[in-house]
Symmetry: C2
Subunit: 148 residues, 2 copies
DNA sequence: ACAATATAGTTTTATATTAAATCATTCGAT
DNA sequence: ATCGAATGATTTAATATAAAACTATATTGT
């Protein structure tokens, strides 16, 4: 195999493995969300609010890498289930601050613990050193910017 | 930090980096698809047909890790653009075999070359050895089964 | 041969997603 | 003070997505 083909082959092969690993781990971790009937975005919103406190929709969108138009809908659906509530900012009335309700807090605390365990279980397929190594390599790839 | 917390912290941190790397690389590579106005699924279907030849919808669904109900719609949309055509199997009339049209073949050949270059460029952020290393680690994680 | 079962594909329902257009509010410059 | 730009949120339109119900066809066990 000529050098150039070799390089291409290696890059494609590595790319494929990276994508499969991410997809495979994600899908297994997210199975935890099927019981409480949360979508991935809904989980993302609840988790952001849980760890950062009340946020406006713009900030939530940035945090979970989705468009603001999307967030409107996700929050709508969470609000229907009384897991969050919107509050109009009295200082700047363009902002809607989203708060977890009590039910929402209770739910995400429980679910997040489960997701956390699932992630730890998944990553422990690799040894401590291997995880460090993977982290370093992924960080290089992830750094150039441009999330989902 | 106590060992157990340490283990949890490392796993979560590695997981996050893996996800960010995959998302970041994906989003940059997929920018190539915006010019020919192909969605990721549409690209996946065309690419599968291009490299494997005509396939039935079930096989396509497995290849690109989507549900068959989904594939029906994706194929519908590709068919509207005359990029693929469906053909009823005369042996077993339950099967629809999906073929690339000439326009579809021409399009995917061109786009795939661009995507390939983009992937190579992305992965070359890492050295040859780092790519090999990343591939090995990702393979372990991806192997336990259960794609998207 | 025929009923039960399995399989391929479609449809339906509900949510997600982006991009673009729009609305409302605020801020800034004159 | 007011007009225009900027900003946060919503709406709309098109596509995606999964899950479940359904249709059509094929296979299998008796």
């Amino acid at each position: 195999m000529k050098p150039i083909e070799n390089q291409t082959y290696r890059a494609l092969s590595t790319y494929t493995k990276l994508m499969r690993a991410a997809g495979s781990v994600t899908s297994r971790v997210h199975r935890v969300l099927s019981t409480p009937k949360l979508t991935i975005s809904q989980f993302g919103v609840l988790e952001a609010l849980f760890h950062k406190g009340p946020l406006c929709q713009k900030d939530i969108a940035e945090k979970i890498l989705k468009s603001t138009g999307n967030i409107t809908l996700v929050i709508d659906n969470l609000e229907k289930q009384s897991l969050v509530r919107r509050e109009r900012d009295s200082e700047d009335r363009r902002y809607l601050t989203v708060h977890l309700t009590e039910a929402g807090t209770e739910l995400i605390a429980r679910v997040f613990a489960d997701v956390e365990s699932a992630i730890v279980a998944e990553m422990n397929i690799l040894s401590e050193n291997e995880q460090e190594q993977l982290g370093i390599l992924c960080k290089k790839l992830g750094m150039k910017g441009g999330g989902s």
